[in-house]
Symmetry: C2
């Protein structure tokens, strides 16, 4: 069950991990106090990159689509965390409406929905599935990889509530990232709990806002732990008006790429890191690993092929890219079966519930792995099944993924703060 991992940890990261383990009570208390001030999103997944010399989040997904990739052994954790979440939002809830992606890229996606529904049913909820797709006018069955099927039903708006023909939910869980825009069907639902809120969708959300919130979180956390915040935080910058097809905004992009590379070179010198720095240029609102470019020098932007440009110009649901984020590239040292890998950590409420490795056999350590051809290897976030039942080591629960769980939770905390800052109803935060 445990993937063969070549975690070529060396230098500062090993120090960082030890620092995390030694300071566990301090870190957990710090997080506990933060969760008194901020409400975590219902669920969240975080892509991490472990460079050996630094460990940082590179993407935070508020509509995680990989529940099917979690190890079976972590399911009780997910159920327990979901119980805590449901109790907070709607303690007497009986019915939950789950809204999946409209046109998922992979048929595997519905296995994710099935797994998620199984977790939620264990918390005491009747779960049914409603589609935002106007083409779904009657209940229809979607086939699942295991041979079973899911019944997807048309959504029905009745006054101030949304539901299905004979199903009136107290809570609605979005697993649809709203890339296509805010659906009027879901606007103004004062009597129902919508999780996460509409402004968590990509129609509103911006990666640069998330990483601005993360920068603040990382800074405070690093101060508490007395470490350099850069060890957990990638540099970034953004450009607001870019058109890859007409080459508008190219100068802004080049300036920002240069700036981030300069900042990185300075840090690389400080830590004696020999690798060539690279930056990731990506759509500020976007997902599915679309619209992502790895750049080692600003000049590369001037020589993009037409194909590169058109791939950058449009993301999911045909959305045009005009806002672009430039993020410090964090190479990954992790490999699974000789392929480059990066950990993805899953959380429900404020708890780490599992994770997996995203593995890509045809990509390099300095490339985006979220691309066709990737596969997934479940991460057992617990001690190995092969270990004997040895008597109570003090650090048994502090397994080697502890550092990943800490950094992933920092990113989730940043998402909470980001959602507070971008909430259209600012009166909530007095």
């Amino acid at each position: 069950m445990v993937p063969h991992l070549l975690t070529a940890l060396k230098g500062p990261l090993l120090d960082l991990e030890r620092r995390f383990l030694d300071a566990t009570p301090q870190i957990e208390r710090w997080l506990r106090l933060e969760w008194q001030e901020h409400t975590p999103p219902f669920y969240c997944s975080v892509d991490l990159r472990n460079a050996g010399f630094k460990l940082a989040p590179v993407d935070t997904n508020l509509f995680p689509g990989g529940f099917a990739h979690l190890s079976d052994s972590t399911l009780p954790l997910a159920v327990q965390a979901a119980m805590a979440a449901i109790e907070k939002y709607c303690p007497d809830a009986r019915n939950l409406l789950l809204i999946p992606e409209t046109r998922p890229r992979s048929p595997q996606y519905f296995a994710n929905i099935q797994r998620l529904a199984a977790i939620l049913r264990q918390t005491g909820l009747n779960v049914r599935f409603g589609s935002l797709d106007p083409a779904v006018v009657a209940p229809s069955r979607v086939a699942l990889p295991d041979g079973s099927s899911l019944l997807i039903e048309p959504l029905r708006r009745q006054g101030r509530r949304v539901g299905l023909a004979d199903f009136d939910p107290c809570s609605i869980l979005l697993n649809n990232d709203l890339s296509a825009g805010l659906p009027p069907l879901l606007a103004d639902l004062p009597e129902q709990v919508l999780l996460p809120p509409l402004h968590a969708g990509w129609a509103v959300r911006r990666k640069s806002q998330h990483f601005a919130a993360y920068k603040d979180v990382a800074k405070r956390f690093a101060k508490m732990l007395e470490i350099d915040p850069w060890l957990i935080d990638p540099f970034f910058s953004s450009c607001g008006k870019v058109d890859f097809n007409t080459r508008e905004g190219e100068a802004c992009l080049a300036t920002n790429v240069d700036q981030v590379l300069r900042q990185m070179r300075s840090k690389y010198r400080e830590y004696g890191i020999q690798t060539t720095p690279f930056v990731i240029v990506k759509a500020d609102a976007g997902t599915y690993g679309m619209g992502i470019l790895s750049v080692k020098d600003a000049s590369e932007l001037r020589t993009l092929t037409r194909r590169d440009r058109s791939q950058m110009a449009v993301v999911k649901e045909g959305m045009q890219v005009h806002e672009v984020m430039i993020q410090e590239g964090v190479p990954t040292v992790e490999t699974v079966q000789d392929s480059v890998a990066e950990p993805v950590v899953y959380m429900i409420d404020r708890y780490v519930v599992g994770g997996f490795y995203r593995v890509h056999a045809e990509r390099g350590r300095d490339e985006n792995l979220n691309a066709p051809g990737m596969h997934f290897v479940p991460l057992p976030f617990a001690t190995s099944c092969n270990l004997p039942d040895s008597n109570a080591e003090p650090d048994l629960a502090q397994n080697r993924f502890y550092a990943y769980g800490v950094v992933a939770r920092l990113a989730m905390l940043a998402a909470s703060i980001e959602l507070e800052r971008t909430d259209p109803d600012q009166s909530l935060y007095g």
Copy 2:
């Protein structure tokens, strides 16, 4: 890792388990609503007996001493549940004082304390150990089975707070069942959180009060699920003034044994059960499996040997037994490696976090297994490590221990209600 289990399930219990699985959302919602009304004890373990035809709790321990017997793989669950508990009682807690048993019966006991401390440290607490033993006047090291050691320190009372020489805790966790009486050191601590409260100790607690509360819980649960409450609830009765040495109260005992056996015979006839009924006679305040007798006929009480009598007369800490509970005996059909076994379920806050089998090679299906010679086999409360990572079955998290987890949580709910009823400060429940 998975013990070879011969769970010879047949008849009503198989029906019961299927009923539980089918009604999972209903059961979990019912429990969720109950936990809105009642606060679970910090932790709790429940001994269950699975008779094939019924599944019932036979003992509920509010000072669980077997954390070291839990499977490693369930530790993250325990940490997550402890996080939820700590957040409820003392969200800003930094220090926790753990008070272990004074003279534990087994050296293994301190491995339990070590494991418990490891779980609590992962929630962001500094954990240290204080002894109620007046003989502990200076910090002393206790050796652990794994070769390490624990530092046990003398308790220090300062005004309205208790702590250690240089350690002022916000919360105090008792793992000492207070069989020896309520220690003045722990009385009147209005500024600190004492978990569980003093009246959970055996100096005050009575099994018959617990099972009276359980009867109410089982009745309401059975009504919701439309089952016979007897399928999850053992008959019981109690005698208040018994002296095994002077044979005082023998008539009361005999009458009550007869009555419980009569009730059982009637139910056995109703369900066509062929086994001979037996009752368990045990101290109403007591633990450690001391003072326990298995009786098939009231006449056996008149022919007890002097050795039997003196074993019944005194339990832990030399406490005299005068109050006695007579409980329907529930035979166990479970065996582990050809030895008779019973499941023990561990809970923290309102969550099942793990469990193990108590196994005894020299005892029968109708005998108490909590006796010298017993051993423990961890129960993996999750799908087996040997299973392939199959894609999302809807009932993956509903493993075969689900029914055990449900009945154990009913017993924990009964403990909450019992502690409310016996709380000396009734103004809390208005």
